[in-house]
Amino acid sequence: MKRLNLIGGLAGLLALGSCCSVQAAISCATGDYNGTYAFFTTGYFLQLPPAAASLMGPFAQAGTFTSDGQGNATIASTASYNGLIQPANVPATYVLNPDCTITFSLTLPPPLSVPSTFQGVFSQDNGQLSLMITSPGGSTVVGTHIKQYVQNCKLSTLNGAYAIDMEGSTNGILSAAGAAETGTFRRIGRVIADGAGNFTATTLADYNGQIVTENFNGTYTLGTNCVVSLIYTNGTNPSAQNAASRSGLLARRGAGIHETAGGQTITISGPLASAGQSAMVMVATQGWAVSGTLKAVQH
């Protein structure tokens, strides 16, 4: 994103008035989209071909878009289609317009495998991108992308307190009490990482209108590729088990947090964003279509 020079701006004011000079003040070129962006996605697939009908429903995703600054990108992600977890790595091409809107063309990864178009709008000096699937129709999927400046991550890169904010849906998650949980899900809370592979979390979870205090602890990994995974086992977290009858039902996987539902290990995993102040994550455990962020309380 570049500012036009002062002379050009003044010329715009004189020739076109204040309205158009504002529009001319921001300009993007293909090379302005360069590097890695961490992202998470949420939404629904409302219409799909009969062969893929079982995938209709809530969708969540987390991963990275990496651009070469020349119109090519690689998308590495983990996605949840109605609770079915699928990793994917697909190429895409893009066109970045002068007004800092962007269009991606790609073939959606299996199991969908159809040509598609994403359209988005940058903000914050190209540091943030909101992106929507615009073709084929039948979905309401939007992603939030944040540029990744951190590199060569290690455990100590995730250190301190983070606000957790995740949302989505669950599909038949089996609670510790044996009940099938299906519906809207939200979680907020606070995760503290010790910088050495261990974390504790105090959270509030909302299962379709039922608010539950869920506290848990576990371990995390953070590779040099800056993908964090937090893992915990429900059965080993007395505070979570005792918090409510549904305490065993969370399992997170994706950007680095594992949750265990009814004895399962749950993983929450995804890439770090910015300079490590946040992570774009999803629950990578079957039955969950939940994504969101970890955001540093202080940095």
Partner: protein
């Protein structure tokens, strides 16, 4: 988090924003506690203690928007079951009192609310607990819980009492004291989400992305991509806006795809680089953000939709 400290120091705009005094105040506890690490073992407990908040750390004006669902209400409130969206401003005084100003849609029924009697407390771990009576038409005692981040400039908030809701709010501190039309100027990313209950031909999930250019004088143009329950509709619109001295923004434009004039309102956050808004059209439960395309370097405003 050493990497983060590096960036904070390098970013000139952030240095200005935080101010040296504020920075020192924030770093001081961490420095003291870091020294304590050398004396007392136990990394985890030190990390927990390294970040402390008090009521005084939550003060000023916070623009907010929220979207969610009311899934369980008493019989007399059944008409409001469904989507809910809000935008407005929390105004904490740093001493436990927080008047709230809102525009809200309950299942598509629009209302303005002012809640003067809300109270809050901030725990040392930067968790904020709110007690208030929900504005009419609900009028019920309630509790919210929020988690502060980004040095207390952002918060994610959940309605926890009464049960039966799935509502999350995103808050960002307002750094402007007074506003005029030119505080909303330039190009903005539009990012809205929610549900439309009425009219039937538009009903279902709703998403909208786009680019809005404001002339700083009450007029804007926008190129929008609107998703009506899976149907993608591109549209270019022109409209007008107002921005009052208290930094409340209202935009209106005639929409061909919606076959109505669409209006949305909310409060400006930061120094004008973001607005948290909700659609005021009857039958809509939609809220979101307008984010400046220039400025802030992509680190301050990671607002989740």
């Amino acid at each position: 988090m050493p990497d983060t400290y590096e960036v904070t120091i390098r970013k000139e705009d952030r240095q200005f924003r935080l101010g040296l005094t504020s920075l020192l105040r924030r770093i001081a506890p961490a420095v003291i506690l870091s020294l304590a690490v050398l004396v007392a073992p136990g990394v985890q407990s030190v990390l927990s203690a390294a970040i402390t908040c008090t009521d005084a750390d939550y003060v000023g004006h916070y623009a907010f928007s929220s979207v969610g669902s009311l899934v369980d209400l008493p019989p007399q409130g059944a008409i409001f079951l469904g989507t809910i969206s809000q935008a407005g401003r929390f105004n904490p005084d740093g001493k436990g009192s927080v008047p709230i100003e809102t525009f809200a849609s309950y299942n598509g029924y629009e209302t303005n609310g002012y809640t003067p009697g809300a109270t809050y407390s901030v725990s040392p771990d930067c968790v904020v607990s709110f007690n208030l009576t929900l504005p009419l038409p609900l009028g019920a005692p309630s509790q919210f819980t929020g988690i502060l981040s980004e040095h207390g400039t952002q918060m994610v908030l959940m309605l926890t009492v009464p049960q039966g809701t799935v509502i999350i709010g995103q808050h960002i501190k307002q750094d402007l004291l007074f506003c005029g039309l030119n505080n909303f100027s330039g190009a903005f990313q539009v990012d809205l989400t929610g549900t439309i209950a009425r009219p039937q031909q538009l009903s279902g999930q709703y998403r909208q992305l786009g680019r809005l250019v404001s002339d700083g004088d009450g007029n804007f143009t926008a190129s929008l991509i609107t998703n009506y329950n899976g149907n993608i509709v591109p549209e270019t619109v022109t409209g007008t806006y107002t921005l009052n001295s208290e930094c409340f923004l209202t935009l209106s434009y005639p929409s061909v795809s919606a076959a109505q004039t669409v209006s949305f309102s909310g409060a400006i956050g930061g120094h004008g680089e973001i607005a948290m808004v909700t659609v005021l059209s009857e039958g809509w439960g939609v809220s979101g953000t307008l984010r400046a395309q220039e400025g802030t370097g992509g680190e301050q405003l990671e607002i989740r939709q």
